[in-house]
């Protein structure tokens, strides 16, 4: 490859990376700037003159941020677990069993991907309230517990596994549930990791549904906490930025630790789809 091509390629990569990483770096820079520094100066300065963690400390003093963090972690853990379990269970018959209406059910499921959450918000709220799920963690988890996207992803992954593996187990007298658990799930770990990351990111960053379903501040998740921070300290964007950084970091850590699986799993879903 010629030098010019390499330089061009890296130039494009740097530009694209800047576009994606820029807002976060700006947020981080704001969170690290002290009160003496003007965060609206022109041209903007990305590197703080005197970096400080004081803003993070103040966030914890101003609001029960640790509690919001634990609430978010609990809801995310429950939602991810439920989504992995239920989506893979639902995907298994759609991928591996032949029954009347299989294709139709799959099409209906897939078509729900076209419906925006805003359309479902009100009926979902009505159902949640009727079931007494408002102001509860269960109410936060249920909309994420089994998603059409998850079912689609898992179905594609199961379809890529050779039928002979299942037939072989079947001839050995292994039940379908055992095959699902012992044979198929271990072979789709990359896809499970992908779905886990997608679900985690979705739940962790979800603002609208918790805003609708939760009134009790002790049940607040991080996005609601950051929103409250913005309301209470609207004039001090350093605090808001520090809260936002705190809420983003766990998401980044999850992605960092699972990216190996995530990337191969995401590609698998795309190619087989």
């Amino acid at each position: 490859m010629s030098l010019i091509r390499i330089v061009l390629r890296y130039a494009v990569l740097v530009i694209v990376a800047s576009v994606f990483a820029g807002p976060f770096l700006w947020l981080l820079s704001t969170a690290l700037k002290s009160g003496a520094e003007n965060i609206f100066q022109y041209p903007p300065a990305l590197i703080p003159r005197e970096a400080t963690l004081d803003n993070f400390k103040r966030v914890f003093e101003a609001l029960p941020f640790l509690s919001y963090f634990l609430n978010s972690a609990l809801v995310a853990a429950l939602a991810v677990s439920c989504n992995l379990m239920l989506c893979s269970l639902a995907a298994y018959p759609l991928a591996r069993m032949s029954f009347a209406g299989r294709q139709g059910i799959f099409l209906v499921l897939i078509s729900t991907l076209m419906l925006p959450f805003q359309l479902l918000m009100i009926p979902l709220y009505t159902i949640a309230v009727t079931l007494g799920l408002n102001n509860s963690f269960l109410g936060l988890v249920i909309p994420h517990a089994c998603t059409a996207f998850g079912i689609f992803l898992m179905r594609q992954a199961f379809m890529a596994i050779p039928h002979q593996l299942e037939e072989s187990a079947h001839l050995e007298g292994v039940t379908r549930l055992q095959i699902w658990w012992h044979v198929l799930l271990p072979l789709v770990k990359p896809t499970l990791a992908t779905l886990a990351v997608f679900t985690f990111v979705g739940v962790w960053g979800d603002f609208l549904w918790p805003l609708i379903i939760i009134d009790d501040q002790t049940r607040y998740t991080l996005p609601l906490g950051v929103n409250k921070l913005a309301g209470a300290f609207g004039k001090d964007w350093r605090l808001v930025a520090a809260g936002a950084v705190l809420s983003i970091v766990p998401m980044m850590l999850v992605f960092l630790f699972t990216q190996r699986f995530f990337i191969s799993g995401a590609l698998r879903g795309a190619v087989k789809g």
Binding site: P162, Q164, L165, E167, S168, A169, H170, L171, E172, G173, V174, T175, Q178, H182, V183, P186, L187
Partner: protein, 365 residues
């Protein structure tokens, strides 16, 4: 040991008939090989016996008990797949014991069965390895071991050696034959490789287009092919098929010759002729039944020579008819040579216009 009976079995895929009404009896302890070209229905038939595919109509019985609707897991069959179908995330040991563990067999029983299979197939060195760390031959041995630990009534194999190289295939053939002798259970084996079929089978079932063309011992299939398809499919190099008219040719050789469009007449052997003067027939002659004979008037113009070690195959033309000849020993001739050849008329296979074998009895009838 279990006998298998298939009565009027058919299989349909949509409007396509994959298996036409088919009857077959497999004796207890017999090693039967389904042989045929790709797409002839041999794997489908095997999967129907396994219970992995439902039959459209007909009955399958094991030891006179109808198993047509019995689920695969309850039939007491085990299967070795072409692709090995080993669980990639499990070690060899876990692969062998998986089915037994899942069906709740006692630990001691599992250990006994696994140990027996391990000893039989010499798998001791690989027990803690995963399939990705094994060679093709080792994988196939594990797959066979996994089938053996089930102690099945019937052991089914779907082209188990197809993915192996020639040398490994040859050694695995010997191992499978030894295994059958040791286990003594009924085995049904699918292959498109005639050498595998001929060396392993007690009986061969030749299939074509979802129909049984012939059932017989390897010797019967080779020496007495029932029709043109079987004659052409079994044997390498392929049998020579010559179409011509039987003519009276004086008193020599019983007075009959085969007149071919492009070759001089070939005298027919008097004691082996199921035809009469005027019959239009196809005559099959195996390449090894054509010999070099300096006194012969027929000559073969060699176009290609194939040296395969113990024998030499010559491909060429006698008149305008393409002929294959197989001679034991080393190469004596090369492309462009004219070789005097003699057709062993007493070894001719006669087929009628429909491609069915003509026997002396049939001709006289």
């Amino acid at each position: 040991m279990t006998s298998i009976s298939l009565k009027g079995v058919t299989q349909m895929y949509g409007s396509e008939c994959a298996i036409h009404t088919l009857d077959l009896e497999i004796a207890s302890g017999e090693f039967v090989v389904f042989l045929g070209p790709s797409g002839c229905g041999k794997s489908t038939l095997l999967r129907m016996i396994a219970g992995l595919e439902q039959v459209a109509s007909g009955r399958i019985t094991f030891d006179e008990v109808d198993v047509t609707s019995t689920p695969a897991a309850k039939r007491g069959v085990a299967m070795v797949f072409q692709s090995y179908a080993l669980y990639p995330h499990m070690t060899v040991s876990q692969n062998l014991s998986f089915g037994l563990r899942m069906t709740g067999h006692p630990r001691k029983e599992i250990a006994r069965r696994v140990e027996r299979a391990v000893n039989m197939l010499k798998l001791g060195d690989y027990l803690q390895r995963k399939p990705a760390q094994l060679s093709g031959g080792e994988c196939q041995r594990v797959a066979i071991g996994r089938a053996i630990v089930q102690e099945p009534r019937v052991l089914l194999s779907d082209e188990p050696l197809s993915n192996l190289d020639a040398e490994l295939r040859s050694s695995m053939r010997v191992e499978i034959a030894a295994l059958h002798r040791e286990l003594g259970n009924t085995m049904v084996y699918v292959t498109h490789d005639q050498v595998e079929a001929m060396t392993l089978a007690d009986r061969i079932v030749v299939l074509n287009d979802g129909r049984i063309e012939q059932v017989g011992t390897p010797d019967e299939i080779y020496r007495l092919p029932k029709n043109v398809f079987v004659a052409g499919f079994v044997g390498a190099p392929k049998i020579n098929m010559l179409s011509g008219v039987v003519v009276a040719a004086g008193s020599e050789n019983g007075g009959l010759s085969l007149r071919l469009p492009s070759i001089d007449s070939i005298p027919l052997a008097p004691m082996h002729v199921p035809v009469r003067s005027g019959d239009k027939v196809s005559v099959g002659i195996r390449p090894e039944d054509i010999a070099i004979d300096q006194s012969s008037k027929l000559h073969m113009l060699v176009s290609f020579v194939e040296q395969i070690g113990g024998a030499t195959n010559y491909f060429g033309d006698v008149g305008k008819t393409r002929v294959r000849m197989s001679v034991s020993g080393a190469v004596h001739f090369s492309a462009g040579d004219r070789i005097p050849v003699r057709f062993a008329a007493e070894r001719f296979h006669y087929f009628d216009a429909d491609g069915q074998r003509l026997t002396s009895e049939a001709a006289r009838a």
